[in-house]
Symmetry: C2
Subunit: 475 residues, 2 copies
């Protein structure tokens, strides 16, 4: 058995056992480990570096949009949760509760935030007084906790990291507009930073956030054709403003309630990237978020001049803004190739005595596994290659998603569609009963509604369709 | 009453009521607000931006030193806390405990991390196998919780944000060396980023971290002469390695316990900056961490060309890498001057029709309240001014601290020293009884021990001094 095969044999087959492939890949590439408490994860340096890159890129977009960061407390009085009726119903079953602190029992139990609409609503109620205070647009990067029965690293864990943005506007129109703008920001981010195509649209009543008037989501297609909700934005109307007294004196002197909205993405995006782009050999990381964009593997590294040349090259690439390192460990080149392929580094550069003599270097791109010869030290060519890889990863994922969106007119067609690993586009009458029936019949849920309603009849009851919906099995 | 006086009268007098001055300043400049749960704080955008600047600068230093970031879970099994005897004794009285989650009672209560030696020790026990895995040097940026009876924003709150670095080495010498290196990194950071002089040294047994072999601290002198512990590093020996089974096979084939160390700074640094540099008018923020380094105030802003000129200037300065904004609100220039002075913006630039005509601008530096005329649009001159301000702030605070370190040979001298708002340098025999007696007699504690032991006798018992100690009242 060749070394390559040995290495690959450590991870399950991606086509026949995708769940095990995922577990193998996230653990063996040291992205993550299980924490001691059931359902928790430890994000290891290789995984956390992806999150740092996501944070940096996303945060820059928020700041460019005029949103400021702040930090609100982790612990929320239990009484806050009950102030918005739908909200408590949605979140109460999965909260963790602090009952004791400082050596005694607390007068009121405190909830570890599952999301912060309530505590931020409370503070906005204190801060907002006049129309001059609006809009108020803050974001926080923090940890949240939702006690889940079935967990998987990055996809669903009892604690996860995320950002949550919360804004108040004087009018519902402005708050709704911001809800759609932030959805567009997320979609653009997915495309240009994660190289990941998504479907966006409004969620059904059944799938919306507890307490929202309307929820919008972006859904990405995973390797197995299942959908992963990768970000959501919520228009709250005056629900939370009324619950927490977020009132302002308008220009006309009248006291009015504000309109709020919120939006969030989490460390789940790391799972989305893994399951969108990965292949039989392991991870394929998008260049904009890859902790390492280029790994240099010296060939015949004990020969004079080879390691020196790799270090010169490393410095040249780093100075050009590329995240790069040289693997000068004692492992064989073959072993290094396999390791860095499994870890999904976008470009490997091989550099040996003959390359150095010929003033060239061999670049291997992880996404297509093709090799190209480049002039030694040509950082611009490497940057162009990274940019090519980003576009190609997006285009490939987009083509794949488009191929696997199929229409259905009956429940049987819908079932056959999702069984085949597709998203199914179908009409829906708008009744909860039909949505429930689809779930029961095909174990598929309404992911988002298409803005373009062109399917004539409901896939379930055959009545006139009110919406065209993307149905899929989902994580 | 002039507008200026009105504005200043909003904050208490810094000399006669420093605690109230602090509260007034942090609330009125919107750095922070009280959270709904007693002892918690909300870090508002102006305060959080300081933290982001601290994080960015500190994180770059960690990365340059080869430390990687990771993220460990918030909740720690109660049983972990008890594995290191001193540790549980120190932290048990102030932990918050999750007893219920997901709608039911937990089998084992979970502690909201007060610090993460235990859970990180547990993971290191899983990860470390061979000498090749060492050193292992990780850091995390996160929230921690310590239930405190008396709280003040930034200085002592039940929840705060911090970084905690945790390393394992094969030998005690290396771990001790890293403990001192990180102390030096903190000291350099305090000087060059916060413009804040500190005293560094080893802590006494009484003051050390629960579970450490040795704790080192840096102490800064606040405006009232009290000390604020602003960062600590801890050498743990094998205490935590033994408690959590952090063992490795050494080069000689023998199975050995590792040696660990940890280090942390928190949002308390924001309090340190406020109380080191502030004056009667409010905040004076160090240029490296000020959210805004320059505010441009247009004079006669309704006159044609004035606002245009300020916006051109703003763009020029921003492109030079300066954090800048124009205050083009409807408030009067006088009102704006006072507001931005209270908010501690290092430089204010005034720009009116006559300045524009003359090709100049008036720069006001917040630290000395002096005005200088600069060529209009000269970004390099503004950068030089910011750099001057940084040096001057450090030098002024250093001179002030040096002036206010006084020697004492008796308890009476020590008491008189701390009553006068000084740090007192005195000999100490090394006995806990004498340290306790100083506390009782003068309400002062041993902040750090001086590396230079030149005081002959113990300030308390008169026996031969084993250490020279800086005693002070402390926050």
């Amino acid at each position: 058995m060749a070394k390559n095969e040995q290495f690959v044999s450590q991870i399950a087959d991606i086509e026949t056992d995708f769940p095990q492939w995922y577990t193998d890949v996230v653990l063996k590439t040291k992205l993550v480990d299980y924490g001691p408490v059931k359902g928790t994860m430890v994000i290891r340096p290789y995984g956390y570096a992806i999150w740092e890159n996501i944070q940096r890129e996303m945060d820059a977009r928020f700041k460019a949009a005029g949103v400021e960061n702040a930090y609100f407390p982790l612990l929320i009085p239990m009484s806050f949760m009950t102030k918005e009726a739908e909200h408590v119903e949605g979140f109460a079953p999965e909260v963790a509760v602090v009952t004791h602190a400082g050596g005694g029992k607390l007068e009121e139990p405190l909830v570890v935030r599952p999301t912060s609409e309530t505590i931020i609503g409370h503070m906005y109620g204190k801060w907002v007084e006049s129309w001059r205070d609006l809009p108020l647009r803050l974001n926080q990067w923090c940890n949240v906790m939702r006690w889940e029965k079935t967990t998987r690293p990055f996809l669903r864990t009892s604690e996860f990291l995320w950002q949550e943005g919360h804004s108040v506007y004087a009018t519902g129109e402005e708050a709704e507009e911001e809800t759609l703008k932030m959805l567009a920001l997320y979609e653009d981010f997915s495309k240009n930073v994660l190289c990941m195509p998504v479907l966006t649209g409004r969620k059904t009543e059944k799938e919306k956030f507890a307490g929202a008037v309307a929820t919008y989501g972006m859904e990405a297609m995973m390797h197995d054709g299942k959908s992963l909700q990768s970000g959501t934005t919520h228009y709250m109307g005056q629900n939370f403003a009324k619950a927490f007294g977020v009132q302002f004196t308008d220009k006309d002197g009248a006291l009015k309630y504000g309109y709020t909205m919120s939006y969030g993405v989490s460390t789940r995006l790391i799972g989305a990237v893994i399951m969108t782009h990965g292949d039989a050999r392991g991870l394929i990381l998008p260049p904009p978020v890859a902790p390492l964009q280029v790994v240099i593997v010296p060939i015949a590294q004990k020969k004079e001049g080879v390691l020196d040349a790799t270090h010169v090259l490393e410095r040249t690439l780093r100075e050009a803004g590329i995240r790069v390192k040289t693997d000068d460990s004692d492992n064989s080149p073959g072993w290094k190739f396999n390791e860095w392929e499994m870890k999904g580094v976008p470009v490997r550069i091989e550099l040996g005595p003959r390359d150095i003599e010929g003033g060239k270097m061999l670049a291997f791109r992880r996404d297509t596994c093709e090799k190209t010869e480049l002039a030694l030290g040509d950082a611009e060519a490497v940057k162009a290659l990274l940019s090519d890889i980003s576009s190609a990863m997006y285009e490939r994922a987009l083509a794949r998603m488009r191929e696997r969106i199929v229409p259905a007119s009956t429940l049987e067609e819908l079932l056959s569609g999702v069984n085949g690993g597709n998203f199914v586009r179908a009409g829906w009458c708008g009744e909860r009963a039909c949505e429930d029936r689809v779930k029961e019949f095909a174990q598929a849920t309404a992911r988002v509604m298409d803005g373009n309603n062109d399917m004539p009849v409901c896939v379930c009851c055959g009545k006139k369709a009110q919406h065209t919906v993307f149905f899929a099995r989902a994580y």
